[in-house]
Amino acid sequence: MTTDSAIAAITETSARPFNPGRRLLLGALLSASAAALVPWALAEPVDNAEQGAFLGVSALLVGRLALEPGLAQRLYDALVAQNAQFPTQASALLAQINERGLTAATLQPALDEAQSPLAPLPRQIAGAWFLGIVGSGENAVCVAYEEALNATIVGDILKPPSYADGAYGSWATKPEGAGHG
């Protein structure tokens, strides 16, 4: 499923300045098996290997959804602000994924079984992308709401709360795509 906003996210220009000297392609950082999981992401430009690792892990965790570069930067910055080790941990996590051919389904069980110190990372990264929120408790910060990916996933049918469904009565009709059984 690709919604209008996902298309817009893909085609919107990045907020970051273009730095050709340090430009890498995500594809270069991923092993063959990981690359096979996220073919759409291979042309993403990254500034450095750690951000690349974050993008690579993110791509695995969010499936087919697009990663808007400006949002990626803001989430990455927020994650690093909460945890100075995050870049190193993200790189280590990507290395694990590459080495062991991990997928979205097998990643967390593998980390849990190994009692890896990286075990909290997938949930933190997934929470950042899907909810737009980084951190927890008193330290949590909001980075996105409308652009959070959980809004994108259902965006063909639902507006995020506090946004109008439409003029009065628009909610009375069966939504497009509503099915049975």
Partner: protein, 467 residues
Amino acid sequence: MSARFAWRGLLLSAGLLLSSQGHAADVDAAAQIERGRYLATAGDCIACHTVAGGKPMAGGLAVDTPIGPIIASNITPSKSHGIGNYSLAQFSSAVRHGVRADGAHLYPAMPYTAYAKVTDEDMAAMYAWFMQGVAPVNAAPERSTRLPFPFNIRLSMLAWNWLFLDKEPFKGDPAKSVEWNRGAYLVQGLGHCGTCHTPRNALMGEQASKQLGGAGLGTWSAPNITSDVNSGIGSWSQHDLAAYLRTGRSARHGQAAGPMAEAIDHSLRHLTPNDLDAIALYIKSVPALRDPNDSKPVTQWGQAGDRLAELRGVPLPKDLNRMSGAQLYDAHCASCHQARGQGSFDGSLPPLFHNSTTGRSNTNNLVMAMLDGVRRQGAGVGSAGNTDGYLMPAFRQTLSSEQLVSLGNYVQQLYGNPAGKVTLEQVTILRQGGAPSDLIGLVRGSLIVAGLALLLAILWWRRRKED
């Protein structure tokens, strides 16, 4: 109300059908009354001659003009307080030439210069409806018109009429189609579109060379609706324009608010589809007038966009008057107009780009929509269920003038014509109801000068005589 009296007309005709004598003539009489009602709807008499919550056509509404408020009169067929004693000739003289039965002149807040175009036959039908289809109200409006000197001298209208009143009734153009002529008749006559949409000269007469070229109404602005593709409605199809006149909205073009919304609710949406098509056709033929600021159609400015990256996780400033345009948009506008200004899926909550309100370089209507909202009246208007009231709420109490300036400029820059600017001075004036007019001072000044000149001339002549 009008439905009730159409019903009364029908009952009248039904009852008369039972009588065997002259029933054809009576059916004609009932049809004439119904036609008169329809024409009065086209003329939108009710808009000025009825006060909110008051009895139909009983007057009392104050029409604000640069020279002061003019109170509409009681035009019900009351013999004591209305026009119940008027003959057809007197009715016609009032409506088409601005002269009351007692000989006094009406002020051109009553658009008799437009109604002058109405045919004799249509006048007779309207007369029949006013006399028989409207309930008499035996009470005078609470206020009466009291304008400052010299405008309180109604005879002064004689000179104004000599300059600006063309008493010729409508003459069709045989070279044009029936539909075009019907549209011309309606627009120039009962529709009196030029009363708002044609700019006026210093003496407040319509400028004939600039027909429908757009004019300010003190607060709201009646836009250029000539056939110009950029500044006017030239890029609209006849179908879109007729639909707009019927509903007050058009996807990808804009929506009616303020006085135009009232005109649609009271008058235009009740006209037949053929008449609306005719009006649209005629308007699309009015000579194009272009504002040099309009480098492209006013309905094609802007695109979807947002500043969410600047907003999320950022608290508001302590002084809310310092909120950025993006923060104000988020707090007050985005719920309906959506985070990227794109409006709802079906456009019923309209987008802010490709919207003539933001596409114009004159931002008065943008500010007025924020101050007073978009109010519609009457069943079936707007979306299902919202039969009356505000489609867009008024933000007059919610937003300060500083906030309106920030927000207005944000919306214009991001979604509209970037040449359009909103200033604090503008918002202050619009909030007050418009700029005070120079006209009173101007005319009084001219009278003093003229009077002095006359005095000097008399003295000089007497001096000469003595020699």
